[in-house]
Symmetry: C2
Subunit: 322 residues, 2 copies
């Protein structure tokens, strides 16, 4: 089965179901065509996932499809963008119908959840990897960048951290845990929930934002560098799930929250005046620190003393670089 048949056969459902607003021409021509409402900008991001680096070999194709799109859609959330669509570039060693069907179903599940339509693709033969490019739209000037953090802002995250890193030993089959603990951790790894609605709610309020993919410490470093200020994280304020604490204990749980990748929660800086209204509206916002003059990231213990950072960033599967 050739390139064209592959795409048409297995991804037709994802394409047809939601070639909606903003997509003037979808799969099947040399380019897709997108339209934007007047006054809006297009947000676009690309992520590649490679077998053995970003996900384990022999990963369940349904879970892989879900996770790949969630990881990419999370970049739209981090910009406060409304989803439009995505392009899938799929490289795979052979065209196995069962694998493709399950992968397409997982992709479709997440596409529906995120309101993203498949607008184009390329299928090539080679070692398994996926490159997803996602498209969203955001009113001009309202995108959440990394560069606007101000001294006095609160440093916030969109929920509990570290679960995905805590799930890694389970994902890799290195340990077993009771279902009540394992299942919520594995769900955070395989089906991260892109915080798209939260991103939109933060437009005009958050001064800087990103999604946590390399770990809170490393990613806060990106905001600090882009904004020209220092971010302080209070160890005691890290939101940790009961499952993670049960699986890893408090010390490793905090380490996962600080340096574990793959959380895909939003981290953002927020002027204090906006906090109460957002929390009252039900948004899952946890304050974990604040923005001060200086540079870099400070990690404060319960006495308010800056302690050494355990790791500078997340290395996928322990490889020397990703």
């Amino acid at each position: 089965m050739g390139e064209f048949e592959l795409i048409r056969h297995y991804f037709a459902a994802a394409s047809c179901a939601r070639a909606g607003e903003g997509v003037a021409l979808g799969i099947g021509d040399d380019c897709a065509l997108l339209e934007l409402p007047v006054g809006e900008q297009l947000a676009v991001s690309t992520d590649t996932l490679v077998e053995g680096v970003h996900f384990p070999g022999n990963a369940d194709p349904f879970l892989l499809g879900q996770r790949a799109l969630a990881v990419s859609a999370s970049d739209l959330a981090a910009m406060g963008a409304t989803p439009i669509g995505f392009i899938l570039a799929l490289t795979l060693p052979s065209a196995e119908p069962d694998w493709l069907q399950a992968f397409a179903a997982g992709l479709d599940r997440m596409a529906q959840q995120c309101a993203l339509g498949l607008i184009g693709g390329d299928t090539t033969r080679g070692p398994l990897s996926l490159t997803l490019t996602v498209f969203g739209r955001v009113p001009r000037g309202q995108a959440l960048t990394r560069s606007g953090a101000q001294v006095g802002d609160l440093l916030c995250v969109g929920g509990e951290l570290g679960d995905a890193a805590g799930a890694l030993p389970l994902v890799l089959g290195q340990c077993q845990l009771p279902d009540a603990i394992a299942e919520p951790l594995l769900a955070r790894y395989w089906t991260p929930q892109p915080q798209l609605d939260l991103g939109v709610a933060l437009r005009g309020k958050a001064t800087a934002a990103l999604d946590i993919s390399d770990g809170l410490l490393a990613d806060c470093g990106h905001i600090a560098a882009a904004s020209g200020c220092a971010l302080r994280i209070e160890l005691a304020r890290l939101p940790l799930s009961a499952a993670l604490l049960a699986a890893a204990g408090p010390v490793a749980a905090a380490r996962h929250a600080l340096s574990g990748g793959d959380d895909y929660r939003l981290a953002f800086t927020l002027p204090p005046i906006h906090l109460a209204a957002l929390q009252q509206a039900g948004w899952p916002i946890c304050v974990v620190g604040d923005v001060v003059a200086g540079s870099g990231v400070q990690l404060l213990n319960e006495a308010g003393v800056n302690i050494e950072q355990p790791r500078s960033g997340y290395q996928h599967f322990g490889k020397p670089s990703d």
Copy 2:
């Protein structure tokens, strides 16, 4: 050297040089932001090139960078789109400075030639492959799709065909030829020239268009299927270069022109009324056939008899699928 340093160090020049019109935010945030003039649509396309499938192992990195972007930019030409920018997703087994520097220089050369700025990227570790996503803009309703060919239109191509396929034995080191023959063929393989200006000139005139990547026969089949008509190709009208005829002889040259991939010339259907003015304006337009009622592609010999198609499509490097 990690992901972020790689991108910043080697691709900074390509980024800074041309983050121009239409790019509101380039490399370094969760998403790039693009803007469109009112009344224009965004054209977007993704292509993946895998080592050993789409280009030979140990390919010269400068030539590879040039070619990869040219191949992708050709999809913009095929839509009649004006280039804006591109995203590079680069997967490579190790970060070798010499390789990266040469690759970035080749990419930059073609980016300047095509007026495309680098607006984002992702660098991952794994078997060598490149996924390029290109962005252009086109006035609403003027994009050249595959679906508008009309009975009575001329079938045209943007210049000589088959040179890239004729170069393959040279690329693979399977033969040697005098420089006067080898050089123009190798140039067509390694530095195809995206026909961006021709694509813009065809707006409002061509009824259907694409760029020839799978071979004239196979690609004309895509126009025929999308437009609901038949395309006739006259064997005697195929434009063949002197170098290709010298290297391959007339029979193999015609086969390369019909079924060889990687030409990246435009093929398009044109109402006869537009031909003279376009040719007088200097556009390299060769009429190779016409559009008739029916379906599929017909290949006519000099007596006007439909002869068998030698191949249905191009197989990169002879692999069972692409």
